[in-house]
């Protein structure tokens, strides 16, 4: 039998907190979050990049954490659903999801939220049609899509109002 494979030491900043972690090469970012760090807000819906429930932001970009090997992200900054609110104040997307009833069972919701935050940063979605297309990487079996689109529209509107105010 092959000798055991040594873990690798990596640095990750997760939701603002610096972590030094020993990870096996095969540990995905998703399993690291859920199993090792007990950050179970990030969900495992398929574990194969086919549903988007595991979506987190890595260096500000939305990615499927289930297909991300943690060892490869040494030095990265990770934001999960647990890190979206600041000082107990919900992120505008979180507020909008509650106001629009953009979820039912809640299991796809963390991924939808991180995906929406990523979408807002990307700046390619403006119309409802564009939001639908660019939120299509997140399945919702409860079928809350229409409300998700409305919530993202609300958050985008709040974002542009904020920007205008800042200018």
């Amino acid at each position: 039998m092959a000798p055991p494979i040594a873990p690798h030491t990596i640095d990750l900043t997760i939701n603002g907190t610096a972590h030094r972690l020993d990870v096996a090469p095969w540990t995905t970012l998703l399993d690291l979050l859920r199993e090792d760090l007990k950050l179970t807000g990030t969900k495992k819906g398929c574990d194969h990049g086919q549903c988007g429930a595991c979506t987190v932001l890595v260096d500000g970009k939305r990615v499927n954490s289930c297909l991300t090997l943690a060892v490869m992200k040494d030095g990265a900054t990770v934001t999960t659903v647990e890190g979206l609110a600041r000082n107990g104040q919900l992120h505008p997307v979180q507020e909008a999801f509650i106001a629009r009833d953009a979820f039912q069972c809640g299991y796809c919701t963390p991924g939808q939220l991180c995906s929406a935050v990523g979408l807002m940063a990307e700046g390619h979605a403006h119309s409802a049609e564009e939001i639908r297309e660019l939120m299509s990487g997140n399945l919702c079996r409860c079928g809350a899509y229409a409300n998700i689109v409305a919530a993202v529209q609300d958050a985008l509107a709040a974002q542009s109002t904020q920007r205008e105010a800042a200018e």
């Binding site: 199993e35 179970t40 495992k44 194969h48 659903v81 039912q104 409860c142 079928g143 409300n147």
Partner: protein
């Protein structure tokens, strides 16, 4: 500030919303325990036969592997079948994981690898080697159609088809207009976003706490206690959040059996999560083949309805659902003959999936009705109106309420149905054919015996508790609204506890009965607490309320006072302190009214209007609008109610256009067992959906006048879309899903 009630009937955001948007809500696989071990399931590669050899040596040799359970070393469980039968089990022999070397279906669990960590369990599982002796299997329902039989034993709660009335075949023969529709609904898998999982927390002599993905904590609890011979007091099932279920969590599924088995044997906490692939290895909507024949006069009035269905079941159990009865119920007709038969395949036992039976049967009926509309030249909505009935002819009873005609009228108006040109292929825009389709939806309105407890403390906080579940339906929120109204407190002052087997008895959360049942129980318990509080206030000496008629008293915002003179009253804490009590806690049990159940039939109804656009050349379908008008009695929370209907419609779009388990019949295996190839709708597939609730007052169906909403949204949706596609293209596709290959005209 005065609390403005009622909360019931007004749109309210979910009380569990914050927990769900912050990641704080914990699902079955997310509860932690000291020293938690992880199980990984090994699934059968073949559909039928036996395990000749199972070699676990290489897997066991992997450091960190604790034990590998197979049929060869599994612990003993209860001997008799009835001990393995849960509340919702169909007649037959319930599946017992790892019971023997017999393989009954592809994907059957055949081993559980338990290890110190999830990755060790997973990686060791890939080293388990299995040698099978295969036997000839059958997974093709069409090929087994001639083996179909009438299930000898009926499933509890499932009405078999009514006896034939009149002479349906004879009336058909002489009918001026005849329609025959053969249709097929394929096997569909529930695929809630949360895969099934169970975390069993080992508490030594105190027993186990099981976090299971379940729609019935008490169903799981009694199953576990019965199968493993445990005292129910040593088994607590706690499932506060359920990541969708749609029926897949009605029966205790094999993850909970395996996790409990391993925990008891290893005397430590164990978690078992299924993979997405394994979500295709148990219950599913059964593939069903149907024939509907309708005979009618030229005026469209039905003179004969015949509906025959053959559905798949497993070799173990006679799974049954109500598929054909709807055809004798929905429209007035004096000559009706309905049959429902099963054919056994080498598959897992099907399982109730959102509006079980109705989704399938109403699809078949409503595409036939659309054909009848086409054949008679009568508008599809008008045809339904002409055949409207105010009596359930299957049981010869009136309805508790039926505002279906209002659904037709309001839905048609909102949709703009009058703009529809009757002829197929008569509406187009650019390269697309436009189609308007319509179908009726129907589902049972049921109420079940249910208990709840309410506890009022001097600080004016109210806690209500009942064992039911919230699978995304909004149970937490409506129960909170009901409780807040009863005691006149803001919703923030109410804590709702559900999803726990130790709470007052509730039925499983299914069948759309939770709101009517648990809602009534919570209402009753809160009213009793309110009455008790008023009783205390009236009994106090020097009280401004002493001996006042209780009807003249209001409880609101932490005070008990005279309705006519709010200054005359007492604070709740003062009443309780003066009475020497530190809380008022009462439990109540509600039942459906047995007399009404005998004398009346209770159903929810809907009218579904769909617009599709079909690329004429390429056959690509877009659903561009859906209007669903629903009559469901009293709507407790229009916001979460609308979401229930939206969800049903989206699943209906999936059923119409996308969902199908693709079987390789040579291998006896579902091949598209993942989210990349088993398509469910994505955001880009879903248009604006307009949901309307029509006024429907019902003082008979349940104490709160509630009918339930979980299922009705999906019923009729697939038919409305199929009918819209027919209207757009002139092509009738009755084999779901309606994919592009079925719409391409021969080139």
């Amino acid at each position: 500030m005065t609390t403005v009630t009622p909360f019931v009937g007004t749109p309210r955001s979910r009380v569990d919303g914050r927990a769900k948007v912050t990641g704080a809500a914990r699902y079955a696989a997310e509860f932690d325990a000291p020293d938690l071990a992880h199980g990984w399931v090994v699934s059968s590669a073949v559909a039928r036969g036996r395990i000749a050899r199972i070699d676990t040596d290489a897997a066991m040799a992997m450091p960190g592997v604790l034990k590998i359970f197979t049929h060869e070393n599994r612990p003993r469980t209860a001997w008799f079948d009835y001990k393995h039968r849960d509340q919702t089990a169909p007649p037959g022999h319930p599946f017992r994981p790892l019971y023997s070397d017999t393989i009954l279906h592809s994907g059957q669990p055949i081993a559980l690898v338990v290890a110190e960590t999830l990755d060790i369990a997973r990686d060791a599982a890939s080293l388990v080697r299995v040698l099978y002796e295969t036997e000839e299997h059958a997974t093709d329902l069409a090929a087994r159609r001639d083996t179909a039989y009438v299930p000898p034993k009926k499933r509890s709660g499932i009405k078999p088809p009514p006896k034939p009335r009149g002479d349906a075949p004879g009336a058909f023969t002489s009918a001026p207009v005849q329609v025959r529709q053969e249709s097929r609904v394929p096997a569909e898998y529930h695929n809630p976003m949360e895969p099934h999982a169970a975390t069993v927390v080992w508490k030594g002599k105190d027993g186990i706490v099981v976090h299971d993905k379940t729609q019935g904590a008490q169903n799981s609890q009694s199953y576990i206690a019965s199968v493993f011979g445990l005292s129910p007091s040593k088994v607590q099932v706690v499932a506060p959040f359920v990541g969708g279920a749609f029926g897949s969590g009605l029966r205790p599924q094999y993850q909970v059996f395996l996790a409990v088995m391993a925990a008891l044997e290893l005397e430590r906490s164990v978690r078992v999560s299924l993979t997405r692939d394994q979500m295709f290895t148990f219950g599913h909507r059964p593939e069903t083949l149907q024939i509907v024949t309708l005979g009618a006069g030229r005026d469209g009035k039905l003179v004969s309805v015949q509906h025959d269905a053959v559905a798949e079941t497993s070799r173990l159990e006679d799974y049954q659902e109500v598929v054909v009865n709807w055809s004798g119920l929905l429209y007035r007709c004096d000559n009706v003959a309905l049959t429902y038969r099963l054919a056994q395949l080498d598959v897992s036992t099907p399982c109730d999936m959102r509006a079980p039976g109705a989704t399938i049967g109403v699809f078949a009926l409503e595409i036939a009705m659309d054909e009848l509309a086409h054949a008679t030249g009568i508008d599809p909505v008008e045809l339904r109106l002409r055949n409207h009935t105010d009596r359930d002819q299957n049981e010869d009873k009136p309805f508790t309420s039926k505002e279906l005609r209002a659904c037709y009228a309001k839905g048609a108006e909102r949709f703009g149905w009058s703009k529809r040109k009757p002829a197929p292929r008569s509406m187009r825009e650019g390269s697309e054919l436009v189609g308007y389709g319509f179908a009726t939806g129907v589902w049972e309105a049921m109420m079940m015996k249910s208990s709840a407890r309410a506890t009022l403390t001097p600080d004016g906080r109210l806690t209500v508790a009942t064992a039911t579940a919230d699978i995304g339906t909004g149970t937490y929120t409506i129960l909170t609204q009901i409780a807040a109204d009863a005691l006149g407190v803001p919703m923030e002052k109410v804590t709702t506890l559900i999803g726990d087997s130790s709470l007052p008895t509730s039925p499983i959360e299914g069948g759309s009965w939770a709101a009517a049942s648990s809602g009534a129980a919570v209402d009753a318990a809160c009213r009793s607490v309110r009455d008790a509080l008023i009783g205390l206030a009236r009994g106090l000496e020097d009280s401004p309320l002493a001996n006042i008629d209780p009807d003249r008293v209001t409880v609101r915002d932490g005070r008990v006072f005279l309705t006519a003179d709010p200054d005359q009253g007492l604070a709740i804490d003062a009443v309780m302190a003066a009475s020497g009590v530190d809380k008022i806690e009462l439990e109540e049990t509600v039942l459906p009214d047995p007399k009404t159940m005998l004398t009346h039939a209770a159903y929810t109804h809907s009218a579904v209007f769909a617009e599709v656009r079909v690329d004429e050349e390429l056959g690509i379908v877009r659903v561009t609008r859906v209007v669903n008008a629903v009559a469901a009695g009293r709507i407790l929370n229009p916001k979460t109610a609308r979401s229930q209907i939206l969800g049903g419609v989206v699943m209906g779009i999936g059923m119409a256009l996308e969902e199908e388990a693709l079987h390789d019949h040579k291998l006896g295996r579902v091949m598209n067992h993942n989210f990349a190839e088993y398509h469910i709708p994505v955001n880009a597939d879903v248009p604006d959906i307009d949901v309307l609730f029509v006024e429907e007052h019902d003082d008979k169906v349940s104490p709160l006048g509630v009918k339930g909403l979980g299922e009705i949204g999906i019923v009729g949706t697939a038919a409305a879309i199929a009918n819209a596609i027919f209207h757009a293209t002139g092509k009738r596709v009755n084999d779901l899903p309606i994919t592009v290959d079925k719409l391409l005209d021969e080139a």
